[in-house]
């Protein structure tokens, strides 16, 4: 694992893969705006957690994103019935592969519902703090 020396003013770059059904379109706009307004955070809307390909996360990390949050419906709430269960399967593999790559903690899967106000911005803060502790991503960069 290679690490890059963090500049003093370094802020982690975060990408959020957000399920369209439970969050992007329905969530309290204030929450979305609060996240979108942050210059180092990008939201990528996906039609369902089931569409989330581990490759999306790996490519984001390779291109210099420091942390990834994957957020979608609670288990059992999927509009397509099993999309988020599929995502659990895939992310379980992904996280263990990342761990083996020495990049534990760079990605996280979370379940949020439209009714849970304030949860998404808080999650983003948590991810930011976690990634800050890890430092800038060094994977693939050498």
């Amino acid at each position: 694992m290679s690490t890059i020396q963090a500049q003093p003013d370094w802020e982690p770059r975060i990408v959020i893969f957000l399920c369209d059904w439970c969050l992007y379109s329905e969530l309290d706009r204030a929450d979305i705006v609060k996240v979108q307004a942050q210059p180092n955070v990008r939201i990528v809307k996906i039609p369902c957690l089931g569409r989330m390909d581990p490759l999306h996360v790996l490519m984001a990390l390779q291109e210099g994103i420091d942390g990834v949050l994957i957020a979608g419906c609670h288990l059992g709430d999927c509009h397509y019935r099993q999309g988020n269960f599929m995502a659990e399967n895939r992310v379980s593999v992904l996280l263990r592969v990342l761990e083996a790559a020495g990049e534990k903690g760079r990605a996280r899967l979370a379940h949020v519902s439209t009714a849970e106000r304030g949860v998404l911005p808080r999650l983003v803060e948590e991810v930011k703090e976690e990634v800050k502790a890890l430092g800038p991503i060094g994977l693939f960069a050498t």
Partner: protein
């Protein structure tokens, strides 16, 4: 039913005779079997003429490719004929995974498995056979391997392929026809289990009793090899913790051989062979400016990590990737080590039960419990 095929001091001839009978008695229409070319190479071929089976050599201890891929090619779609496939245990396991991945079809397929005492890489095998011109001298190659394994399963043969040295499942499980070579004396006769119907067609009569000799040998071999494997996994885990996968695979030259020879990597066009990851020139410069330096081309780790994501659950440990690596990297060991951890929450054994669904596409409501994320 278990039968004994008389060997009359020539086990290879007996094996060839049995395979010929399968074609002659129309049990199968064609056989996928390793054949010896006039130049001495061993390569799988689809054989329809029983007369040509004098060149068949399923016992040659060499593995140049995982034959499960070949079996997929000749069974995957209708119309198909009845195919017999002579396979090693790791090839049988790969076939099970390919069937689940819908890249092979078990309908009208007869699998013929051989207990395996280990294989050499192709160059090593060629070097060894060049010194041994006569069929008898060549036969000594595999005879010695079976003998050594039976006598002292704890001793690894360092010249064997890396994957074979730590293979904990060298015995056949779940084949239609099993050549029980472990513990067999090979001089008088070879014990074979096969379906009753087939034995009747071939005019073979049952042998009473269990093959205790083989069972005992399988038990001790599995125990010893599992020990060897776990020790290797332990070493690799330490390396992975120390230097990460990036360190272990640092000298990868991105030839993609590991993907090409992998029986599980079946995609016709791999993403990494497509232009999907070609970026605009300015994009590379931007990354270089942002990071200070950017590895060119930068997708080496992306390639390995993506491949891990795609196939590690199904990795059956044939080790073709290690054999094919020009940089001599322990690709197979890395993948098997990580695979063991990745498979753990699924409780999945690749190459086992063909009815067990692939963990990534299995939907079980009780499988996952949410972590406490998102709760107030």
């Amino acid at each position: 039913m278990r039968v004994t095929i008389p060997a009359e001091k020539d086990a290879l001839k007996a094996v060839r005779g049995f395979l010929k009978q399968l074609l002659e008695a129309k049990v199968v229409d064609a056989l996928v079997v390793p054949m010896e070319t006039p130049a001495g190479a061993i390569t799988p071929a689809l054989v329809a003429d029983p007369g040509l089976l004098d060149a068949a050599n399923p016992l040659a201890p060499v593995m140049g490719l995982n034959t499960a891929r070949v079996v997929g090619r000749v069974t995957v779609r209708e119309p198909r004929l009845r195919i017999g496939a002579v396979l090693r245990p790791c090839e049988l396991r790969a076939l099970v995974e390919l069937i689940k991945l819908k890249q092979a079809d078990p309908a009208d397929l007869v699998t013929i498995g051989f207990d395996c005492a280990g294989t050499y890489d192709v160059p090593d095998y060629v070097a060894k056979t060049q010194k041994r011109k006569t069929p008898k001298a060549k036969a000594k190659l595999w005879r010695d391997l079976y003998g050594k394994l039976g006598a002292a399963p704890s001793v690894t043969v360092p010249a064997l392929r890396d994957a074979c040295q730590m293979c904990e499942k060298p015995h056949v499980e779940g084949a239609d026809v099993t050549f029980e070579l472990f513990g067999a004396d090979m001089i008088a006769g070879i014990p074979v289990t096969l379906p009753d119907e087939m034995a009747e067609t071939l005019g073979l009569s049952a042998v009473e009793g269990e093959n205790d000799v083989r069972a005992a040998m399988v038990e001790s071999v599995v125990a010893e090899r599992t020990r060897v494997r776990d020790a290797r996994f332990g070493e690799m885990r330490q390396r992975l913790e120390g230097e990460g996968i990036e360190g272990v695979l640092a000298t990868c030259v991105r030839c993609h051989n590991c993907m090409t020879v992998c029986p599980i990597c079946y995609c016709k066009t791999c993403l990494f062979k497509s232009p999907a990851l070609d970026h605009e020139p300015a994009q590379y410069v931007e990354w270089a400016q942002r990071k200070g330096a950017y590895r060119m081309l930068g997708d080496t780790m992306l390639f390995h990590l993506t491949r891990l994501n795609h196939m590690v659950l199904s990795c059956i440990g044939c080790g073709m990737c290690t054999s094919a690596c020009p940089a001599d990297l322990p690709v197979g060991l890395v993948f098997r080590t990580i695979g063991q951890d990745v498979r753990q929450p699924f409780g999945y054994t690749p190459g086992g039960d063909v009815e067990e669904p692939l963990p990534l596409i299995a939907f079980r409501e009780d499988e996952w419990v949410e972590s406490s994320v998102g709760e107030e």
